[in-house]
Every structure is written in C-alpha cells, then in structure tokens.
C-alpha cells in the first residue's frame, strides 16, 4: 500500500468514526479528538508500556512458531511416510480454536508471558506447518534431482532449496493468521494478568468507565496489528522480490 492510500484510509476512518460518535451520542463512543488526546497523553507512559508488552508477546510467538513449524513442515513435506503418519493428527487438531486451551495453559504455565506466548504460537504454528508442508511437498522432483546433481547433499538442499521455498508460505501464513493472533492475545490479556493492551482496555479503562482511555487502547491494538502487517509486507518485498517480478 502506498502512503497516499494509507493517509486516505486513515482520514476515512476518522470521518466514519466522528459520524458514528455523533449518531450514537453516548460516552461509550467518544469522538476521535478526545481519544487522540488521551492516546497522546498516555502513549509515552502507561499505554506505551502495555503496547510494548503486547508487541513483545506477539513477536516472541511468531519467532517460536516459525522456528518450530518450518523445520517440521519441511520434514513432513519431504518424507511421505512421516506425513502419512501425522496428517490425520494435524487434520483434527488444526481446526480446533486454540483459545480453548487458554485455561489449561494458565494452569500449566501461570499467568505470566509464557502462557500467552504459547497460546498465540500454537495458532500460528499450525497455519505455518500446513503451508510449509505443502510447499515442500509441491517442489518438483526434477528441481530436487537437478540440484542434487549439482553436488548438493541434504544440508545444501535445505539451505538452497527447502528453506527458500518455504519463505513465501511462511509470510502468507503469518499474514492470514496474525489478525487472529492479536485477537486471541486481547482475550488472553483481559484476565488473570496485569499487563498488555487487553488488560489496559478491559481492566484499567473499561472497568473504570474511562472510555477515551479505552479507545486509546483500541487504537494502540489496531496500530499493533497494522504494524505487524507492514513488517510482513516489508519482509516479503525484501525476501521474495521474485514474486512481484513476472
């Protein structure tokens, strides 16, 4: 997306927001200028801290899920017998909404960062696993043979074929699932914790009827999601320039 489109989108959001605020005309839906003032006042303090904590949790979950799902996905895609063994398990577990494991994770890992990071990582893990597995399985045997005939062993095949072939899939999986990940983070942070944007929005602001503050939290959460999309797009342009060239 170009900067001009981005500015236009932001402007339209503000207009719709202002109109809705007039139409609803209640404290629970404050106009943008009040929220922006509250946001400006808090982002360098309390809100900023909660935003950073949430961002850290998502980032850690992305790193954890990529680091585990990519090698496993390549292994499954490459070794048919392994895939035949695990495909039914993945088929059943993949569609389970991972948020239902929140209580279990809270009991096992406590209410700190660990349970939240692992919950989000679980969501991302299955998305990435399935996409990477299919990308590795779809690599044409001719391509593998010809690289093998250039002298590649297993290590070089990973380095020059399987890993680069997995990158577009990883980015697509992240793009598809990062929105869900942030939403789940919000739920996970909204109880049994004292930090993160979910806590800020639900406990600190909503619970105390501070609506402008609540919306500044919503704004921060939106910026977090948007920031992640931008980061994924930038990675895509940097790592996969060949996808745009055709």
């Amino acid at each position: 997306m170009r900067w001009r489109d981005l500015g236009l989108g932001a402007l339209m959001t503000l207009v719709v927001w202002q109109l809705l605020s007039w139409a609803i005309d209640r404290p629970v839906f404050p106009p943008p200028h009040e929220v922006l003032a509250a946001f400006g006042g808090a982002i360098l303090g309390d809100l900023g801290r909660h935003l950073l904590i949430s961002a850290w949790r998502v980032t850690a979950a992305i790193v954890l899920s990529v680091a585990t799902a990519v090698p496993l996905g390549i292994g499954l895609g490459q070794i048919r017998a392994l895939n035949r063994l695990f495909a039914p398990l993945i088929y059943i577990v993949h569609p389970i909404p991972k948020i239902v494991f929140l209580p279990v994770l809270l009991v096992l890992l406590g209410s700190g960062d660990g349970s939240k990071i692992l919950l989000i990582a679980l969501i991302l893990f299955f998305q990435i696993l399935v996409v990477v597995r299919d990308a590795a399985a779809d690599l044409r045997p001719e391509l593998i043979s010809s690289v093998y005939s250039l002298g590649a062993g297993r290590r070089a095949l990973y380095r020059y074929v399987y890993f680069p072939a997995a990158i577009p899939g990883v980015l697509t999986a992240l793009r598809v699932s990062v929105g869900t990940a942030v939403a789940v983070l919000f739920i996970a942070e909204s109880f049994a914790t004292t930090s993160g944007l979910g806590y800020y929005i639900i406990i600190e602001a909503w619970g105390a009827l501070r609506y402008a503050q609540m919306f500044s939290g919503v704004l921060a959460m939106s910026l977090l999601g948007l920031g992640l999309y931008f980061a994924i797009d930038a990675l895509d342009r940097h790592l996969c320039p060949w996808r745009e060239a055709s």
Partner: protein, 263 residues
C-alpha cells in the same frame, strides 16, 4: 567413460527396464539415446547420473562405481530445474555456491576445485551463453531458450567432463531449439565433453548423436546402435543435406521395427 556391465534395473513396482544390459561410452563421444515413451531412456540417464542405483550388475563412470552423483558429471533436464526465487546469475552460480558451501571435500566438490573467482567465472559463462543482459531477472521473466541457456551455464561453470541431458530442448520452439542444438554441439567440442542426450525426437537424435542408442519397449536386453559418421555432422548445414535425411529414415525404420511407433 560410462560402462553399463550386465546391468539390470527393476523399479520397486516391478517393471524391469534394463535386463543384463551392457553398453559403454568412450571418453569424448557424443551419444544420443532414443526410443518410444516409457522405453526407459530417462531411467538410463538417471542411472548414469547416480540418481538411481542398479538392481544388479555394475555401472562405472570414469572407472569408478557410482553410488551418488559425481561432481564432474553435469545433468540438464527438460524443465530446467532453475530455482524460481533466484536470479539468472544466482541460478548460474548455484553449483559453484554449493561447492563452496561444502568446501573441497572430494565428495561434493572436486579436490582441485578453485572457487576464488566464483562470480567472475559465472559472469564469463553468462556472456558465453549470451544471457548476461538478463542476469538480474528471474526465471519467470525470461524466455524458455534463455532459461535453458541458464541451466547450461550453471552446469558448464562446474567444468564437467561428462554432460547428461534429458530432453533438454523439448519445450522450445523449432528455431530456438536448432539454435541451442548448435550452441551445445559447439560447447561440446570446445570443452571436450563426453555427452549423452536423451530424446524422443528422431531429427534431434541425428543432429546431436555421433552415435545413437536405440531403446525399445522394456525390458531392454540387447544394445542397438547407429553410427552417425557423416563428415558434415555437427555443422550448421548438416540438417539440410541428404545424409541427414537418410540417417533419419534409417533410425525411423529401426524404431518402427520395434512393436510400437513413436509417441
């Protein structure tokens, strides 16, 4: 250079492709292998490349038994085997980069390999194959002929002594195909290569093969060869002369003598 000694190859599914098959290629020879679809000509090439192992018998390349691809053997396939995410230059450099990835270990990389001027070597081959102007483009941005040139550059940059090609020009239009056939013949002479090219096309077999191996429906037991010793062979005008046509007809008769016509 290549020796099939009483070699049998059976697929795990049960089909025997070669049965007690003996065939040898001397150093510097240019062979074409022709036969109908499913005759096992690609299998024969995969065996020579070390990508498949014989079920019984022996296969020697440069005097050594083959249990994995050999560093000095180059392989070029029809679908080019280029990495879609790498530029022409990076694709052409792939073999050399794999060699520097392993270092001179004698297994993946010949012990006497010098990788100090890797990119100069790659660029020299890009210029030799006239694809230096598309060096920074990706495979999906260039023509089929340019893609095949990239595959050739990638293979020749490794200084092979044996070049195996499986239907290398099958996906190209007639003129590009003739162009690349001539270029390949030129490079074969220039680099002193031993070559085996697999094709289902009679004209291509006569153009590219100084000697031609004819395979029939499997299992193949006896070796049927045609010697193509016209002095004009490998010249630009060869395909226009009567000797070329006569050789094509001879080959056609041999193939029709097998139980099925060519696909």
């Amino acid at each position: 250079m290549i020796e099939f000694r009483d070699l049998t190859f059976t697929y795990p599914g049960g089909a025997t492709i070669l049965a007690h098959f003996s065939w040898s290629v001397a150093r510097g020879e240019a062979w074409a292998v022709i036969g109908p679809s499913g005759c096992g000509k690609s299998t024969l090439l995969m065996l020579a490349a070390g990508l498949r192992q014989p079920t019984a018998g022996e296969l020697l390349v440069a005097g050594q038994p083959l249990d994995r691809p050999r560093p000095r053997t180059g392989l070029i396939l029809q679908d080019y085997g280029l990495l879609p995410w790498a530029t022409v230059r990076d694709n052409a450099a792939l073999g050399l980069r794999i060699r520097s990835f392993y270092g001179r270990d004698g297994k993946h990389t010949p012990l006497d390999e010098d990788l100090s001027a890797l990119w100069e070597r790659v660029d020299r081959w890009l210029r030799r194959l006239a694809i230096d102007h598309v060096a920074d483009q990706y495979p999906n941005q260039i023509s089929g002929g340019q893609r095949q040139r990239t595959a050739i550059a990638r293979t020749l940059a490794l200084r092979p002594d044996l070049l195996l090609m499986d239907e290398p020009f099958g996906a190209l239009d007639a003129l590009t195909r003739e162009d690349l056939q001539l270029l390949t013949l030129e490079l074969m002479a220039e680099q002193g290569l031993t070559t085996v090219i697999v094709t289902h096309n009679i004209e291509e077999a006569v153009i590219m093969g100084r000697r031609i191996l004819v395979l029939h429906h499997p299992p193949n037991r006896e070796v049927v060869t045609v010697a193509n010793d016209d002095p004009a062979w490998a010249t630009r005008d060869y395909r226009k002369g009567p000797a070329f046509l006569a050789r094509c007809n001879e080959l056609r008769r041999l193939l029709e003598g097998s139980d099925h016509a060519l696909a």
